[in-house]
Symmetry: C2
Subunit: 193 residues, 2 copies
DNA sequence: GTTATATTAGAATGTATATTCTAATATGTC
DNA sequence: GACATATTAGAATATACATTCTAATATAAC
């Protein structure tokens, strides 16, 4: 009952994502989002409790998009594939990559994390932590603090480092960095498998 | 002639730096800086043309502080020392490190870079680029695009990646990362020297 | 066709801050 | 001591947004 919606929630998230990727999170004003969609300001608030909630949805979408394949590789025990997932995903998802790797959560969601979304964020974090810990155990046997640090470094930090410079320039990371990531992976994690 | 100053320009830069490191660049309002120093708002504008100019000074101070020893090591041909400078500097300069590694220039200086400071920024950038290129030439002979990429990766990107996770947590980077940085350096740059 | 209501529309409001302005206050120079 | 002016003081102004509000509109249910 009631009038049919003219826009979909997704459209607003898309618009916010696009604006954030193109001009930075500060450019994501409610008015700008509404303009991009062609909707009135009120329609944004009809769907999202606040700007923070909207931006949180943007963040969640991006993180999930990245983690999906990363964790899948990890769960199959394919560490190299997981490490190389970063440059590959970045090449395929420029806008999302800019958001995930160029900004911090607090730049998108400026206030406290919206209560309704806290659980989803926590679940995502737990899944990533678990995936990493499992992989470290499989690789090193036990998995003490230092084994986990080493795994995070090789699987996340180094691929990020290799890629972020190009994202800043708005360019696709060149193929050569895949080699650096692999070399570093073997150096840090050892050769086995 | 005229009344003696009650505050020094440096005090305002110090205050802005401290606030940015503790609470993020958005917390650096002119009122907050004035409060921190114990000066009136007008005194800030008496010294700095705008918030952007003040923040630019903060940025310049931090960058110079970091680059000094980094370039010195590089010019002496000590690549490992240069690579390890990042974790060492971070341990000694927590506040500066938070600003340099946690935020981007555009988060500090939100508008166009103040005209009067453009030249200083450019000079700094040139000096860093030159130092890197020189070192790549010394190490690889020629120094094509790819040699420079490789050098940047080993000397800057990887040390940054190793360190930034701890900065986010407000912790000092543990000693173990120095080992990762060195291992990666050798893997990427080769063993010689 | 009437009614209830989901949704569109966009104007009005409130707030936070950068910046500007006007007025006091010291201090070096004469 | 009087003057010129660098500096302090802080109130007033302007702007940019997030958020709220009031009013129209279309459609499903009856």
């Amino acid at each position: 009952m009631g009038r049919n919606a003219q826009f979909k929630n997704e459209e607003f998230i898309d618009a916010a994502l696009k604006i954030a990727a193109d001009h930075g999170p500060a450019a994501v004003t409610i008015a700008a989002v509404a303009r991009e969609v062609g909707a009135p300001v009120g329609s944004v608030y009809h769907r999202f409790l606040s700007r923070d909630v909207l931006m949180a949805e943007v963040w969640l979408r991006v993180v999930v998009s990245f983690q999906e394949a990363f964790l899948a590789a990890l769960e199959k025990g394919e560490g190299i594939e997981a490490a190389l997932h970063t440059p590959r995903w970045v090449r395929q998802h420029s806008a999302e990559a800019r958001i995930l790797l160029l900004y911090r959560r607090e730049e998108l969601v400026t206030g406290a994390w919206p209560e309704e979304l806290k659980e989803r964020v926590l679940a995502i974090k737990r899944r990533l932590d678990g995936g990493i810990r499992n992989y470290a155990e499989r690789t090193f046997g036990k998995a003490g603090r230092e084994d986990i640090n080493r795994t995070v470094f090789a699987l996340i930090d180094v691929p990020y480092a290799a890629v972020v410079r190009y994202i800043r320039l708005g360019k696709k990371p060149p193929r050569s960095i895949d080699g650096y990531i692999m070399q570093t992976y073997f150096t840090i994690m050892g050769r086995k498998k």
